[in-house]
């Protein structure tokens, strides 16, 4: 069993993983029906294969095999592009030597083969740290505590960060001693289709001890290397914007509830609203480019709103599976989704309310404007003729409690993962 180092193992392991990764992998490999092509002559290209997966079984680490184990650091840097942080070591778990009890293996068995990797919180801090020279999109492993009381609950916390240090993925896996231990039945994984994770941390909390981090073992670390991410057509279109997004073509519209008689009875006049003209040719070009890149939106809830939308919808390609919910009407929509455990909203509209400002504001000539509040950070921009706003919500709606929520670079990174989606109504180019 320990000698399996093939993709087959990765796939079988993925099948055992949490639904999160199973869905993420599915998202990466499937072009969904939610991104129909404007040009039916184009056929869907095969999903862009990620680079070959890698498996580390910790069997071939050189060094003394007994006692406290072999310190892990850069033994897999050349072969797998990963360096382990302080506190990681490899232990011999098979009952071959008399001093097996001197290792951290509480039960003389590894998930595969004879060895497993351990993390010691005393020497390495609370979390095992893995830094990748070659970014990964999915990381999976078996995880085992080194001991516990019968029925005791544990939580494995996996976090993934991009090269900028921005958290892009997270997974919490809960299990119990001893039914989820000894035979290594517990898998933990994280990732997303377009994630480019340069650092992954793994931490195990023991709930019976105030959630204190405790030492643990992992075995058969599986890595899915991230594909080379070309800039998405949407991100490229946003980047091409120069200067303020001026309203070019738009027609005045009137709400069905703002008839002339009713308007005359108002104390104040109803605002003028305009409906913009969408650049459907540019949208079609973006859709075609996305197909060639096998780039698709993460599956979402709210298909009927997408079908009825008469504007191009921008949606995330690397949201946490199941986290995207869309509401809308033909001219506007709002999508909420999560990336790396953080909640975002994306609002889009082709209806503009004409309003006069009071004085000048900085940034009025920028193509993208950022607006911060106590609760969120929003980037406002225009592309394809419609207006959009991408918002990162602060944890507990407080930037004081969550200063990272105002990181503009992190918000821009999310914008770089947006794709354009057109529904049935949009294909008529209204």
């Amino acid at each position: 069993m320990g000698q399996f180092r093939t993709k087959q193992l990765v796939l079988s392991l993925a099948a055992l993983l949490s639904p999160v990764v199973v869905m993420a992998v599915a998202a990466a490999q499937t072009t969904t029906a939610s991104t129909p092509a404007l040009n039916p002559a184009l056929t869907l290209s095969a999903a862009q294969p990620a680079q070959e997966p890698g498996v580390i079984d910790f069997e071939n680490v050189q060094g003394p095999q007994l006692g406290a184990g072999i310190e892990l650091s850069d033994q897999y840097a050349a072969s797998h592009g990963v360096r382990f942080g302080r506190g990681a070591s490899v232990h011999f778990c098979a009952r071959v030597f008399d001093d097996v009890n001197a290792s951290l293996c509480s039960y003389p068995q590894a998930a595969s083969g004879r060895r497993a990797a351990a993390h010691d919180v005393r020497s390495g801090g609370p979390a095992m740290v893995m830094d990748f020279s070659k970014p990964v999109s999915v990381v999976a492993m078996r995880i085992n505590p080194t001991g516990g009381a019968e029925g005791e609950a544990f939580v494995a916390e996996l976090r993934g960060f991009d090269a900028s240090g921005v958290q892009r993925a997270q997974t919490d896996v809960r299990f119990n001693w001893s039914k989820d231990a000894f035979t290594w039945p517990t898998s933990a994984s994280l990732g997303a289709a377009r994630a480019q994770l340069s650092r992954v941390t793994v931490l195990l909390r023991r709930t019976a001890q105030n959630n204190q981090p405790v030492r643990f073992l992992i075995d058969d670390l599986s890595l899915q290397y991230a594909p080379d991410n070309a800039v998405s057509p949407v991100a490229a279109a946003i980047a091409e914007q120069k200067g303020p997004p001026r309203v070019r073509d738009a027609a005045v519209v009137q709400s069905k509830e703002i008839g002339a008689a009713q308007a005359a009875l108002r104390v104040y006049p109803a605002a003028v609203r305009k409906r913009t003209v969408i650049d459907w040719d540019a949208v079609e070009a973006a859709l075609n480019a996305q197909q060639e890149m096998a780039l698709a939106a993460t599956p979402y809830n709210g298909e009927r709103f997408v079908a009825a939308a008469e504007l191009p919808l921008l949606l995330p390609a690397s949201a946490e599976p199941g986290s995207t919910t869309i509401v809308g009407n033909p001219d506007s929509y709002n999508a909420t989704f999560k990336v790396g455990g953080v909640t975002y909203s994306l609002y889009g509209s082709r209806l503009l309310t004409v309003i006069a400002k009071n004085g000048d504001a900085p940034g009025v000539n920028d193509a993208v404007t950022f607006a911060g509040t106590e609760q969120a950070l929003t980037a406002s921009f225009s592309v394809y003729g419609a207006a959009y706003a991408l918002t990162r919500h602060c944890a507990d709606e407080s930037v004081t409690a969550d200063p990272a929520c105002h990181d503009r670079d992190a918000l821009a990174a999310i914008a770089g993962d947006l794709v354009v989606v057109v529904g049935d109504a949009g294909r008529a180019r209204p």
């Binding site: 303020p244 997004p245 001026r246 309203v247 709400s255 069905k256 509830e257 703002i258 009713q262 005359a264 009875l265 108002r266 104390v267 104040y268 006049p269 109803a270 605002a271 003028v272 809830n301 509401v327 009407n329 506007s332 709002n334 909420t336 909203s345 609002y347 509209s349 082709r350 209806l351 503009l352 309310t353 004409v354 309003i355 006069a356 400002k357 009071n358 004085g359 000048d360 504001a361 900085p362 940034g363 009025v364 404007t369 607006a371 911060g372 509040t373 106590e374 609760q375 406002s380 225009s382 419609a386 207006a387 959009y388 706003a389 919500h393 507990d396 709606e397 407080s398 930037v399 409690a401």
Partner: protein, 299 residues
């Protein structure tokens, strides 16, 4: 219907328009009896009986309370959401400044002082309404507003409910639509008619499962209660609703998405509310037990 009739005496143009329409109908009626007479009773003009000058005009902030120490906010009086229902289930309600009202803390460490007093002062729960969109806020990281002079200012309108009682007064959906966000102290509604996002802050959010993102709501449906929360663990503000209308706008020919001035829309919606509920106009006496203003009253 009664909402419209209640407006007949507000505006000469409206009266003239209705008179014109009635005259046109009378011409037809002179030769052919109406085969489908209006089942409604004879129109009765309902006077909301709001006090004279019950609302200051849009953009007329408290003296010195703007970010530039002036008193001018967004003076464009356009009603951005004429289809909106007033966000409180019941009146009376009082749109005014929190931080510059009685008991408010002012702003900027004394640079914009407050009058002192108590949050529960009767003056806070009385007319006249006052716009506070673009009110002084100077932290560029937290208070960006492209419509305000200098690009900084309050992003919404503060509204006090009838009394200072915490987590008692109901917030209702301003339009048919869907819940688009539920935070620890906020509930947002996507308006199906307008396409706007209505943001409601400082809410005692409903129990889990009551409303959730994607859930449909109908105009007037209860969605949360008004509280004094700044976060899930902080109750450091007054009992009030911070109300925002977010949408895309054309501002000097440029397309932007963000907060729109809500004051004039609230004026219209409030007149609709009290026209149908004339018993909900007058200020009410504060609660005898003032602790109700500080203790949560949930459910």
């Amino acid at each position: 219907m009664s909402q419209l009739l209640a407006r007949f005496d507000k505006n000469w143009i409206g009266v003239a328009a209705i008179a014109f329409m009635l005259a046109a109908c009378a011409d037809d009626a002179g030769v052919t009896p109406d085969p489908d007479p209006d089942p409604d009773p004879d129109p009765v003009v309902v006077d909301p009986a709001l006090p004279a000058d019950w609302q200051n005009p849009p953009g007329d902030l408290l003296a010195g309370s703007s970010t530039t120490h002036g008193s001018t906010g967004v003076t464009d009086a356009s009603v951005v959401a004429p289809f909106m229902r007033f966000p409180f289930e019941e009146g009376p309600a009082f749109a005014n400044s929190q931080i510059f009202g009685q008991g408010g803390g002012g702003y900027g460490g004394g640079a914009w002082p407050a009058p002192g007093g108590s949050e529960n002062d009767a003056a806070n729960f009385d007319y006249a309404w006052r716009d506070n969109f673009c009110e002084a806020r100077t932290n560029p990281a937290k208070h960006t507003n492209a419509l305000c002079d200098g690009g900084l200012g309050h992003n919404g309108q503060d509204i006090r409910p009838a009394t200072c009682e915490n987590a008692v007064h109901w917030l209702v959906a301003p339009e048919d639509g869907h819940i688009s966000w539920v935070g620890s102290i906020s509930v947002n509604v996507f308006g199906a008619e307008s396409g706007y996002i209505y943001k409601h802050l400082h809410m005692q959010t409903p129990l889990p499962g009551w409303v959730e993102v994607g859930a449909p709501v109908t105009k007037g449906q209860r969605i949360a209660r008004v509280s004094d929360r700044l976060s899930s663990s902080s109750r450091a503000t007054t009992v009030h609703l911070h109300f925002e209308i977010h949408g895309s706008a054309e501002i000097d020919g440029v397309m932007r998405t963000g907060p729109l001035p809500p004051y004039s829309s609230l004026v219209e919606a409030y007149m609709d509310l009290v026209a149908d509920n004339p018993d909900q106009i007058d200020p009410v006496a504060p609660p005898a037990d003032i602790t109700k203003c500080t203790e949560p009253q949930w459910p």
